[in-house]
C-alpha cells in the first residue's frame, strides 16, 4: 500500500515537472503579478481619496521623532524608565495593604485557629508558616507591580509604540545574529521572564526563537527590581551624601539593567555563532498606525491574560517552596538546623565569589520567585548569625519596616559593599525562577534547551562575581 502511494506521488511530481518545463519557469511570477494587477485594478475602481494634501499625517510625524537616529534610543529608554519608575513607586502602597491583610492580620488568626483546634506545632508550622506564608508573600509582593506594569506596557503596545521599539533595536539584534522582534520579547521580560518567553511565539524561525528564549532571563524582571533597588540604596547610595543617594542608587540599578541588555546581545551573538548557527532571517515589520488605546479593555485583558496567568503559576510553585523553607530551618541534625549546616558548609566556597552561604541557600530555596529572595536572605541571616530580637521565628520569612533595620541585619551577617555589588550582579545573572523554567520547557519541549537556559546564566553569574571579587581584592587591599 505504502509502496504504491509513493510511486504514484512520484508520478504526479514528474508530470508536474514536465508540464512546468513546457510552461516556462516564470509561472510563479506570472501568477503573483496577475494577483497584484487584479488588486490594483479593483482598488482603482473603488477607492477615492479626497483632498489628500490637507490631511496632516501625524503617524509619519511621530515616527520621524521616535525612530530617529538621535532621539529614538533616548525616548525609548526614557519611556521604559518611566514605566519602571511608576511601577516601583506605586506598587509599594497596595503591596503594603495586601501584606498587612494576609500576613499581619490573617496569619496570626490562622495560627491561633490552628492552635485552638489542636494542630501539632510542626503541622501548623509546615502549613501556615511554610506554605501559607510563602504564598501570601508572593501574592503581596508580585501582584501589585504586575498589575501596574502589564497594563502600562499593554497600553504602549495598544497605542502602537512597541513595533517602533523593535524597529529601533532591529539593527543591534541583527548584528548579534538574532531576530529583530527579540527586542519586543526582551522588553516584555522586564515585566516578567515567563511572559517574555511566551511572547517569543511571535518569532517564526526556531533558531532565533531559541536565542530569544535563552537570553530572556537577562532582562531584569519585576521580581528583581526591588532587590536591586534595596541593595543599591543600602550599599551604593550609602557611599555618597544623602542628597545624591537617590540618584546614585537609581543610576546603579539602571546600570545593572543596561548590563543585562548588553549580555542579552553578547550571548545572542555567541549562540548564533556556535550552537545555534545561522543568518538572521529578514522580516518585514509594518509600522502600524497609532491608535488611541482602549483603556478599559486593556486593563481587563492585561490583568486576566498576563497578571493572573503569571501569578497563578508563581503561587503553584511558592507553595511547596514555602514548605521546604520551613523544613530546612526547623529540621535539626545535632545542634544545627539543615539551613545552618548548608550555610556553614558553603560559606568558604561562596566567599571565593564575594557572596556568602546565606545568599546561595536563599537562591536555591527561593527558586519559585525572585521576590522572596530578600525575605529569605533576612530570615537565614538572622538564624545563622544569631541576632537577637529581630525576625518572626525560624523558617518564617519576614521583611523589615525600615531600610536601616535591614542594613543592620545584613551588616551583622558580614555584608560589605563588595557583597552588595556581587548580589546585584548575581541577581541579574542566575537561573530563571521555576515559573520561567517550567514555561521554557513548555515552549521548547526540550530538556536540553531548558537546562541550557537554566545553567548558562548561573555559570556566567559565578564567573562575573569571581572576576569582580578578585579585582576588588587586588585593588582595595
Amino acid at each position: 500500500m505504502e509502496n504504491k502511494e509513493k510511486v504514484s506521488g512520484e508520478e504526479i511530481l514528474s508530470l508536474a515537472n514536465t508540464l512546468r518545463w513546457d510552461l516556462g519557469m516564470n509561472l510563479h511570477d506570472t501568477v503573483t503579478e496577475s494577483i497584484y494587477e487584479g488588486a490594483s485594478k479593483i482598488a482603482k475602481k473603488t477607492v477615492r481619496v479626497k483632498d489628500e494634501k490637507s490631511s496632516v499625517n501625524w503617524d509619519l510625524k511621530i515616527d520621524k521623532v521616535v525612530t530617529s537616529k538621535w532621539l529614538g534610543f533616548p525616548i525609548m529608554f526614557f519611556l521604559l524608565a518611566l514605566v519602571f519608575w511608576i511601577t516601583v513607586a506605586a506598587a509599594n502602597i497596595p503591596s503594603g495593604w495586601i501584606a498587612s491583610l494576609l500576613i499581619d492580620t490573617l496569619h496570626p488568626i490562622l495560627k491561633n485557629g490552628a492552635a485552638a483546634i489542636g494542630f501539632p506545632w510542626w503541622l501548623s508550622g509546615v502549613l501556615i508558616d511554610g506554605a501559607y506564608l510563602s504564598v501570601a508573600w508572593v501574592v503581596s509582593v508580585m501582584l501589585p507591580p504586575m498589575a501596574i506594569f502589564f497594563p502600562m506596557f499593554t497600553l504602549l503596545e495598544d497605542f502602537g509604540y512597541l513595533p517602533r521599539v523593535a524597529f529601533n533595536m532591529d539593527s543591534l539584534f541583527r548584528k548579534a545574529g538574532a531576530h529583530g522582534k527579540q527586542a519586543l520579547t526582551m522588553s516584555m521580560g522586564f515585566g516578567c521572564n515567563a511572559a517574555g518567553v511566551v511572547a517569543t511565539r511571535v518569532i517564526d524561525s526556531p533558531r532565533e526563537r531559541l536565542i530569544a528564549i535563552i537570553t530572556n532571563n537577562f532582562s531584569l524582571c519585576n521580581g528583581r527590581w526591588p532587590t536591586q533597588i534595596l541593595i543599591a540604596t543600602i550599599f551604593i547610595g550609602g557611599l555618597v551624601s544623602s542628597r545624591w543617594a537617590g540618584i546614585v542608587s537609581a543610576g546603579a540599578v539602571v546600570g545593572v539593567a543596561v548590563l543585562g541588555i548588553f549580555f542579552s546581545l553578547v550571548v545572542s551573538w555567541a549562540l548564533s555563532r556556535s550552537v545555534l548557527k545561522g543568518e538572521a532571517s529578514a522580516f518585514s515589520l509594518e509600522l502600524p498606525p497609532y491608535r488611541p488605546p482602549r483603556i478599559l479593555q486593556t486593563l481587563y485583558t492585561s490583568l486576566i491574560d498576563r497578571t493572573i496567568f503569571v501569578l497563578w503559576r508563581a503561587v503553584v510553585f511558592a507553595l511547596p517552596a514555602g514548605i521546604l523553607i520551613w523544613l530546612v530551618a526547623n529540621i535539626h541534625i545535632g545542634q544545627l538546623s539543615l539551613a545552618e549546616w548548608f550555610i556553614n558548609w558553603s560559606d568558604p566556597f561562596a566567599m571565593l565569589f564575594g557572596l556568602n552561604g546565606v545568599i546561595l541557600l536563599a537562591y536555591i530555596i527561593a527558586i519559585p520567585a525572585n521576590e522572596i529572595v530578600i525575605p529569605t536572605v533576612l530570615m537565614l541571616t538572622v538564624i545563622s548569625s544569631g541576632i537577637a530580637g529581630v525576625g518572626a521565628g525560624d523558617g518564617v520569612m519576614f521583611e523589615l519596616d525600615s531600610i536601616a533595620d535591614t542594613e543592620r541585619v545584613l551588616r551583622a551577617g558580614g555584608w560589605t559593599l563588595l557583597t552588595g555589588i556581587n548580589l546585584m550582579l548575581f541577581s541579574l545573572l542566575h537561573n530563571p525562577c521555576s515559573t520561567t523554567i517550567y514555561t521554557i520547557y513548555k515552549e521548547t519541549k526540550s530538556v536540553k534547551w531548558t537546562m541550557i537556559s537554566t545553567f548558562l546564566p548561573i555559570v556566567m553569574g559565578f564567573a562575573i562575581c569571581f572576576f569582580t571579587t578578585q579585582v576588588w581584592r587586588l585593588l582595595v587591599k
Partner: protein, 263 residues
Amino acid sequence: MSNQHNCENCPVHHKENLIRLGIAMDKVDYVIALAGNPNTGKSTVFNNLTGLRQHTGNWPGKTVTRAEGGFSYNDKRYKVVDLPGTYSLLSTSTDEEVARNFILFGRPDVTVIVADATRLERNLNLVLQILEITDRAVLCLNLMDEAKRNNIEIDERTLSKELGIPVIPAAARQKEGMMELLAAIEEVASGRYICKPHRIKSRSAKLNHAIDSLVGKLKQQFPGLPNLNWVALRLLEGDQGMIDAVNSGELGTLSPSLIPSDI
C-alpha cells in the same frame, strides 16, 4: 450616520439574535474562518463575535496559533477559527501555512476576510488569493473610522460586485457593523447568498490544460481532497511545501485536526 434610527427597526439590528458562546463549541452548524492581513483587527472582530477576550495588540503577528470560539445566531451555532494574519498564501512561513491549510483543507463554511480599509489595495492581494481557493467568503472592511479620518472613500457596492462576495464596512473597535457582518455570514452559510468569486482570468489555454491533466492524476491519488485545481497550480509553480506534501503522501492526511491549535 444620520439615518441610524431607521436601522434599529431592521431585523439585522436585533441584538438578541446573537448569543456569544465563548469556548462552548459543541454541535456546531457552521464553521467560520477568520483570515486577513496582520494588524487589521481580526482578533477584535473575533472577540466581538464570540464574547471571548483573546489578547489583541497593535502589532503584527499577535495571533501566533489559531484560536477558536463560538456563537449562536438565529438558532444556528457557529464555530469561529481565528487564523494568524498573513500578507499572502504564496510563500511559506508557519503562519501562512496554518492559514492556508485551514482554508484549503479545513473547508470552512464561510471565510470572513478582515481587511484594513485604509490600505485596501495591499489587502486585496490576500483577498484575491483567498477567493482563488474558496467559493464562500465575506469581506469585512474594517477600520472604516480611520479611513474616514484619512478622507478615504470606498465604494462598497462596486467592490462587492467586483469581488462577487458581500462587503460589510465595519469599525470593530467601536463594535460598528458587527450585526451586518453576522447577517452576511448567515446568508452565505445558509446558501441564500451565492458568491461568484473573482477569479484571475489571465490564464492561458496551455496552463489550463496542464492544470487539468495534473488534477486528473491528483484525483486518483488523493480522492476527496478539495481544491485540487489550486494544488495543481502550486505544483506547477514549484511550491516546495506542496511538493514535499505530495512526495510523503502527507497531502492526503491533511485535515483540520492536524493544524496546530494551542492556548
